[in-house]
Amino acid sequence: MTRIRVLFGVAAAAMAVGLWFALTAPPDALQGEYSRIINVHVPSLWLAFLAFGVTALGSIMWLWKKKQRWDRLASASAEVGVLFTGIGLFTGMVWGQAVWGRAWDWGDPRLTSTAVMFFVYLGYIALRNAVDDPVVKARRSAILGVVAVVQVPLVYFSVNLFRTLHQTQSIRPDGSTMPAEMLVAMLVNVAAFTILYVALMAARTDIARIEEANRETELLAGDAVKPPKLSEVGDV
């Protein structure tokens, strides 16, 4: 428990530092204040893809080793992944609308694959919620994880092919020509968000572990292990 508290403490500090960098970096000449959004958008997307990869890894490892910890890893990462994919898409759309006049860009394969990933996450979580038995839950989620990790790159590739053959230039260039201060701010935030991811993952997997243990005892002994409410006990 203390380990998690420490992680969150460090994460909070890192995020605060990142936020400070984001808010004090000089604004871009063309984009104005909107350039600051990149400090939330890029780290969120980085995490979204990292979380997705971890879910895929957890799924494959579970199918191979059948150890419950891999399922916990996969499902925790999916939940955290949904959060950051959502933030990434939201910030991207606001930024796109403000800077390029269009919230969505069909020429960008990264956008479409991120959106697909978002819905895959949602499906994954919905699937888990619909199953009671933990082993069945783990097995089915793992299979979905494997299917997804093969299909999402295919989605990316197909939109990329679409763009190349249509010669549609993405309206959002890769932005590698950033001034040094902005780049530093962004990298600091990438690091901060990564620490945050680790903290959230540690907390979420721990919760999963406790809830699984609870479920086992409840199934065995039922009401006998639930402490009675003090108000309901007649004479103590």
Binding site: F8, Y34, R36, I37, V40, I87, F90, A203, I207, N214
Partner: protein
């Protein structure tokens, strides 16, 4: 709405969601721990 307000709003919402999720995790952990 000025640019600054919109950008500030984006930051508030994004960080707000992260904080909200963290609080949710904390509450969920507390509930799980009391039942164990």
């Amino acid at each position: 709405m000025s640019d600054t307000v919109i950008v500030a709003g984006v930051f508030v919402i994004s960080y707000g969601m992260i904080i909200a999720y963290s609080v949710y995790l904390h509450l969920r952990r507390r509930r799980a721990a009391t039942r164990s």
